[in-house]
Symmetry: C2
């Protein structure tokens, strides 16, 4: 499913997909596909994205279990 938390954090920082992509060193498509939930990114990429957006892994990539 889509990663809205990532998209919101990016927009809050006023970054386009392309700008974020350049910061973390991947292509714009990669960012877009992660936001739309079509990729299963690597841990190091997740960490780089978190650092670029001043968030943690749990902030952007962890879903609390619904009981």
């Amino acid at each position: 499913m889509k990663n809205m938390k990532l998209k919101l954090a990016r927009v809050e920082k006023d970054l386009s997909q392309e700008e974020l992509a350049k910061i973390v060193g991947v292509s714009r498509q990669t960012i877009g596909l992660i936001e739309s939930g079509k990729y299963n990114p690597s841990l190091s990429l997740c960490i780089n994205i978190c650092k670029a957006l001043s968030r943690t892994l749990n902030d952007l990539f962890w879903e609390e279990e619904e009981k």
Copy 2:
């Protein structure tokens, strides 16, 4: 570098690499290589490992920045 937090969490649950691997559906080698820091695992694998060990992404895969 090695992922000691993962290894400790696994040992605390009294699981061998092979047992954890079976639970999360990967090979024993994959777990070993992640613990020894030679792999860059996928996000979904990290999440599965976290759930198997009752931890979060931040618990096992996030390093606080040293300032």
